[in-house]
Assembly symmetry: C2
Homo-oligomer: 691 residues x 2
Amino acid sequence: MSLTFYQVAAIIVSVLAFATAFWLYKWVARQPSSNERIAEVGKLIKNGANTFLKKEYRTLVRFCSVAAILILVFLPSPIWKGEIINNITMAVAYIAGTIFSAIAGKIGISIATIANIKAAEAATKGIKPSFMSGYRGGAVMGMAVVGSSLLGVTLVLMLSGNTSALLGFSFGASSLALFAKAGGGIFTKTADISADLVGKVELGIPEDDPRNPAVIADNVGDNVGDVAGMGADLFDSNVASMAAALVMAASLSDSEKHIGMVICYAAIGLLASIIGVFTANMKEGGSPTRALNTNTYVTTAIYGILTAIATYVFDFEWRIWAASAIGLLVGVVIGITTDYFTDDTRKPVHMVAKACESGPAFTILSGISYGLISALPAMIGIGVSALAAYKVCEPLGEGFAMFGISMAAVGMLSIVGMIISNDAYGPIVDNARGLVEMGNLGDKALEITDSLDSAGNTVKAVTKGFSIGAAGLTVIALLGAFITEVNDAAAGLGIAGIEGGFDVTNPTVFFGLLVGAAIPAVFSAMLMLGVDRNAQRMVGEIHRQFDEIEGLKEGKEGVVPEYDKCIEIATTGAIKELIPAGLVAILSTLAVGFIGGVNAVGGFITGNIVSGLIFALLMSNAGGLWDNTKKYIEAGNHGGKNSNAHKAGVVGDTVGDPFKDTAGPSINTQITVVSLVASLAATLFLTLSIF
Amino acid sequence: MSLTFYQVAAIIVSVLAFATAFWLYKWVARQPSSNERIAEVGKLIKNGANTFLKKEYRTLVRFCSVAAILILVFLPSPIWKGEIINNITMAVAYIAGTIFSAIAGKIGISIATIANIKAAEAATKGIKPSFMSGYRGGAVMGMAVVGSSLLGVTLVLMLSGNTSALLGFSFGASSLALFAKAGGGIFTKTADISADLVGKVELGIPEDDPRNPAVIADNVGDNVGDVAGMGADLFDSNVASMAAALVMAASLSDSEKHIGMVICYAAIGLLASIIGVFTANMKEGGSPTRALNTNTYVTTAIYGILTAIATYVFDFEWRIWAASAIGLLVGVVIGITTDYFTDDTRKPVHMVAKACESGPAFTILSGISYGLISALPAMIGIGVSALAAYKVCEPLGEGFAMFGISMAAVGMLSIVGMIISNDAYGPIVDNARGLVEMGNLGDKALEITDSLDSAGNTVKAVTKGFSIGAAGLTVIALLGAFITEVNDAAAGLGIAGIEGGFDVTNPTVFFGLLVGAAIPAVFSAMLMLGVDRNAQRMVGEIHRQFDEIEGLKEGKEGVVPEYDKCIEIATTGAIKELIPAGLVAILSTLAVGFIGGVNAVGGFITGNIVSGLIFALLMSNAGGLWDNTKKYIEAGNHGGKNSNAHKAGVVGDTVGDPFKDTAGPSINTQITVVSLVASLAATLFLTLSIF
C-alpha cells in the first residue's frame, strides 16, 4: 500500500515535470524570431541534427535488437534453464530503457534547435531575454530527461514487481547512452576541431564565419553531442543510481518502505529541480554564471529541506537521509574544487597560459599535469562520501551500509534536472553565438552571446564534478548490486556465491582488477583516434572546398560552401566509429567473466571504476583548463590573439576538445555499462566460467 | 647449514660480478683516446655529472638522516614499546640500502663518463669497437648494480638473521632511487628539452652543436638521469623483488630451504648475466639492435636451464621453478608487445607520423591514444602471470601461492644485469654521438654513433617492458608481505590482524583504493611540472647567452658559451624539485594509514599499483612512440626534416621526453616506495589509526 503511494506520487511529479517541460517549450517557441537569415541557418542546423540522429538511431536499433534477442535468450539465465517470463521481462525492460533514452534525446534536439534561434534574436534586445531563452530551452531537456527517468523506473517497478528488471531498464538506457555519447562526441569534435583548424588557425577567419564549410556541422555537433549525447548520459546515470539503490533496498529488511524511500527522494529531487527552474532569473547586467550557480545551490537547499520533511513525516531513517545529504554536499565540494582547476582567475589557467609562451609542448605538459593533479580532490571526495555514507548507515543492520552508499549517489544526482538544464544551456547559447555571427546581428549581440557562452563553459566544470562523482558512487553501489545478483543466482542454483566481497589478494580478483583498469584507457583512446581520423578527413574536405569553390575564401556575395558535405563526413565517421569502442567495453566484461568467473568480474568492475574515474577527471578537467586558457589568452593576456602563446593555446584547446567532450564524459557511461553487464550476466558467469 | 651454503654461493657470485665489472672497467679504460677536443668536452661532462651527483647526494644525506632517525624511533614499532635492537637493525639496514644504492650510482657515472669518450673515438675505426666500448661500459654498471644488490641482501640477511630487516634495506634503496630518479630525470629532461627547443627548433642548428649553451648539460643529463637514476631504480626493483620473496619464504613451512632457493635463483640470474655479457658481440656491419636483443634472449635461456638444474640438484619445488619461468617468459612477451607500439616499422609510429601532417594537436592526440592502448597487453600479461604463478604454487600449501607470485617477479628480474647493461649502453652511445659531433670526428663516425644510439632507443622498449612488469609483480608480492608484517605485528600485540585480504566492498579499503590510485597521477604531474618550470628557466638562459655573447650564434672561432650556467640551472632546479613529489608519495601513505588503518592502506597500495602501472606504461610507451615518430619523419618520411610534420613531431617528442624519462620510470619506484613504507609502518597503523 505504502509502496503504491510513493509510486503514485512519483508518477504525479513526473507528469508535473512533463507539464513544466511543455510549458517551457511553448514559452520558448513564443519568443520572437523574425530574421530570415537566422531562420535559414537555424533550419540547416536542425536538419543536420535530425539527419544525424536518424542515422544514429537506425544503427542503434540494429544493435539494440541484437542485444534484446541475446537478453531474451540468455538473461538473467539461459532460456532453457530458467523461467521464460523473467527473460521476457528483462528484454522488454531493456527495450523500454533504450526507447525512453532515445525519446529524451530527441526532445532535447527539438527544443535546442528552436531555442538557439530565439536566444540569438533575443541577444539584440539584451542579455536577460537571451539568457532566459537559452536557459528555459535547456530546462525543457532537464525536465524531460528527469521526468522520463523517474517515470520509467516507477513503471518498470510497478509492472514487473521486480527490481532486477530495473537493471535491464538501466542497461537499455546505458547502452544507448554509451553509443549516443560516443557517436555525438565524435561528431561534435570532428566538426569543431576541423572548423577551428582550417578557419581560425590557417586562414585567420573568425569562429562561426559562414564561409567556413564546417561551420554548420560544428553547430550541429553542439546539438547532437552536447545536448542529445549529454542528455542520454545523464538519463543513464540517473536511472542507474535509482536502479542500484532499488536493488539494494529490495534485499533489506522492511524492503517496501525503503523502496518507497528511494522513489520518494528521487521525486523530491525532481520537484526541487522544477522549483529551481522557475526561480531561475537574472537581472539585466547581472552575471549569467552567478545566475546558473545560484540555481544549483537553491535547488540543493530545497532538496535537503524537503527530504528532511519527508523523512520526518514518513518516518524514514534519519541515517539514510544523512547519507543522501552527504552525497549532495560532497557533490558541491567536488564541483567547487573542479572549478578551481578550470577557472581563469586561478593559478592553473595562469600557469598554463604562461607555459604557452614557450610553445605548444609546454602547454600540453602543464595542462596534463594540472589535469592529473585535479583528480586527487575528487577521488578523495568520492572515497570519503562512500566511507561516510557506509559508516552512517552501518548501524541500521545488514545491507544498510551499501544501501547508504547508493543513497549518497541518489543524493548527489537528486539535482540532476538542474544539472541537465545548465548543461544543455551551454550548447544552445553556443549555437546562438554562431547564429548571431552568421546573421550579422551586430557586435553588441555578439558580446552578449559571448558572455552567455562563457558562463556555460564555467558552470560545466561544476556540473561535471557532480556527474563524475555521482557515477563513482553509483558504480560502487552497482558493485553491491552485482554481489546481490550473484548471491541470489547462486542460492537459486544451490552453489556457493560471493562470501564477503572481493579480496584483492585473490589473484583472480587481481587479474580482473588489472584488465578492468586498462579498459577505460583503451575505450577513450579508441574514441580519440576516431575523432583524429575523422577530423583529418574533414580538414581535407574543407581544403578542397576553399581550393575549388571560386570566391569562397574572399567571401564573394552569393557564394556558399557545401555545408552538407561536412555534415555528411562527420555523420558517416561518427556512425562508423561509435560501435567498436562500446563493444570493447561490453565484450571485455564478458570475456573476463567467462574466463575468471564472478571474482574476476568483481575485480574488473573495481579496476574499471578506479581508472575510469581518474581518466574521466583528467580528461574533463585538462580539457576545460585548456579551453579557458585559450580564452584567457584571447582576452589579451600573454600577447593576446595571434601571438605565439595564442597558437600554443589553440593546440592545447584542440587536444582538450576530444578529451573533455568525447572521451572524458563517455567514460562515465562506460563504467556504468560495465557494471550493469556484469550484474545482468551474473548467472552466466557463475555457471559457465573457465576458472 | 644449507642456508649458509646458498649465502656463501651468493657472495661468491657477487664477488665474481664485481671482478667482472672491474675487468670490464679496465678493458674500457684501456681503449685508445687521443683526441684532445673530445677529452676536453668529456671532462666538462664528467665534472658536470659529478657536481650534480655531489649536490644531490648532499641533499639526500640530509633527507636520509632524518628518515633514519624516524625509523630508529618508530619502526618497526615505537622505541618505547618494542625492543630497541629491532629499531637499530632496521635503521642500520635502511642506511645500508641508501649507501649501496648511492655507490652503484656513483660507479655507473664513473664508467659512463669514460666509456662515452672511448666509444666516440672508436667510432672512427668502425661500428664494432664503438659498440663494444659502449656495451662493456654499460655492463660495468649492470654488474656493479646486481652484484651489490645480491651482496647487500645476503649480508643483511646473514647479519640480522631477520627478513623484516630486508624491508628496511629495500626501503633505503627505494627512497634513494625515488629521489635519484626524480632528480636525475628532471635534470636530464630540462637540459634535453631546452637544448632542442632553442637549438634545433628555433635556430635550426644540429643536435649536439657546441655553440648551444645547453649541450653539455644535455650530455651530463644522460649520465645523471639515464645512467645513475636508472641504476638506482633497477637496484631498487631488484632488491625489492628479493626482499618480498624472502619475507614470504620466511613465513613458509621449511622456510630455510625456500630462503635458500630465492638466494640461489637470484645468484643464478646474476651468473647468467655475467655469461651473457661475455657472449655479447657483434660483427662489423652487423645490427647493434640484434646484438643487444640476442644477449637478452641468451641470458634468459641460460637462466631457465641453470635454475632447472639447480632445482633438480637441490631438490627444490618444480612448481616454484615454473612460477619463476612464467615470470621471465611473460616479461619477454610484454617486452615484445611494448616494442610494437614504439617500433618505427609498425602501424602506431606510421599513424602518428601521418597525424603530424595535420599539426601538433593531432600528434599529441594520436600518441596519447596509442599509449593508452599499449597499456592493455602489459596489464593482461602482469595479471595472467600473477594468476598463473599463484595457481601453480597454490597446491604446495599455505602461503606458497603468494610466494609463487614473488618468485615470478624474481624470475622476471633475474636478467636485470642484462637489462641494466643494455639500458646504460644507451646514454653512453648517446653521449658518444655528442662527442663525435663536438669533436668533428667526421660523418662516418657520426653515422656509426647514430645507428648505435638508435639501437639503444629500440632495446629500451623491451627492457622497459621488463622493468614495469617486474615492478607490478613485485608490488603484488609486497602486498602479501604487508599482510605478513601486519599479522606478525598483530599477533605480537594480541589484537586482530587482517583476515583473508582486502575486500574492495569494504568502504575503508575502497577509500584507500581511490586515494592510492590518484597518487601516481599527482606524483608524475609534480615531476613534469618541475621539468616544465625548469626548462622555461633554462630556455631563458640560452636566449640570454645567444643575445649577449658576441659571435656565439655565428660560431666564431674561440667563442664558447657558458656551459656551466646551464648545468647550474638544471642542477639547482632538479635538487629543488626532487623532494616534494617523493614526499607526497610517502606522506600520503602515512596519512591514509593513520586515518583508515591497515585496511585503507591495503586499498591504497592496490590503487597505487593499478593506476601506477597504467600511467607508467602510458607515459613510457607514448614517449618512446613520439621519439621514434620524430626520427621516422627525420628519416625523410612525410616531408622529412623542417617540414610541418617534423615540427609537429618535435612537439610530440618534447612532450614525450618527461613522459618517458622523468615521470614514467619514476612511477615504478614510487609504487615500490609506497608498498615498503606501508609494510614498515604496519605496527603503527595497527595501533594508531583513527578508524
